[in-house]
């Protein structure tokens, strides 16, 4: 009886964590787009990215979760905060609420889309979701876990995209230096 209860609790634990994360992510996303102060927005973005890393870990993508924290929450957001501080921005005067008909129509379509897709997912579920069993997860564990499998696939099947990505980063470094460089005054 007690073992049964513990097993049931362990089954429900990921769901509890997921709902906790999802609630906080929605809240932080809202705060990100609603804060008047860009610095506050960036801080809420960091919190959001950390919580998303938690969701990735719940979905058993441990490597992606680690990279999310290292690259996204660590590097990209620092870049944002740095630029915001550099520009010394004042808080905005407020969102533009002089919506015209086209904007209203766009919001309406967005809202309708959210409601429709959520209702579709809530009522019938995705096709094929039921097909998953825990067996394949066990098989992945026997192969050495997600991280090992990701690494081996990345280094074999996706080696060319990987190299091209490194070249893209090089190009981005050069481009950002050239674009942000101070223009020389022509005489």
């Amino acid at each position: 009886m007690l073992e049964n209860l513990t097993g049931r609790l362990l089954e429900l634990l990921p769901f509890g964590f997921f709902h906790f994360f999802a609630m906080l992510i929605t809240l932080c996303s809202l705060m990100t787009i609603l804060s008047r102060n860009p610095v506050k927005s960036a801080i809420f973005l960091v919190i959001n990215l950390f919580l998303l890393a938690g969701v990735y870990a719940l979905l058993e993508s441990h490597f992606v979760a680690a990279i999310q924290i290292l690259v996204y929450a660590g590097a990209i957001t620092v870049l944002f905060v740095f630029v915001i501080m550099l520009l010394n921005l004042k808080a905005e005067a407020g969102p533009r609420f002089n919506l015209n008909v086209l904007d209203m129509l766009m919001f309406l379509i967005c809202g309708l889309g959210i409601v429709l897709v959520a209702a579709r997912l809530a009522t019938s579920g995705l096709p094929g979701v039921e097909a998953i069993t825990d067996g394949s997860s066990q098989a992945l564990k026997q192969l050495g876990g997600h991280t090992l499998v990701v690494a081996s696939v990345l280094m074999t099947k996706y080696i060319w995209p990987f190299e091209i990505a490194s070249f893209l980063i090089l190009l981005a470094i050069i481009a950002s230096v050239v674009i942000a460089r101070k223009e020389e005054v022509k005489k």
């Binding site: 979905l59 996204y72 520009l87 579920g125 893209l168």
Partner: protein
């Protein structure tokens, strides 16, 4: 409802919030931050689909998306700095050079 469906719903919500952020905010940096939100929603869908199909290709796509997002943030913020230096403002509505 299992974790994958729930994460898809969460991704829809985050994506739409990012989209609304792009539409309503009038600051170029806020536009970039909203784009980051939308990219994260897409990453969440990739990870969920990877779990759904028990296939790690989705997770590798997330790594590439993160790479491209980092490049986009770097170049975009460099452009923001250049625009601020040139015009003294980064309000969205100010820039209408390309408008005929």
């Amino acid at each position: 409802m299992n974790l994958i469906e729930l994460s898809f719903i969460l991704a829809i919500v985050v994506f739409m919030l990012g989209f609304i952020g792009i539409l309503t905010r009038r600051n170029l940096i806020m536009t970039l931050i909203s784009i980051e939100l939308m990219l994260n929603a897409v990453n969440l869908v990739f990870v969920g689909a990877s779990r759904l199909h028990q296939n790690v290709d989705g997770q590798i796509m997330v790594l590439f998306v993160i790479t491209v997002a980092a490049c986009e943030a770097a170049v975009g913020l460099a452009m923001v700095i250049a625009l601020y230096r040139r015009y003294g403002t980064i309000e969205n509505d100010f820039f209408r050079i390309l408008r005929g």
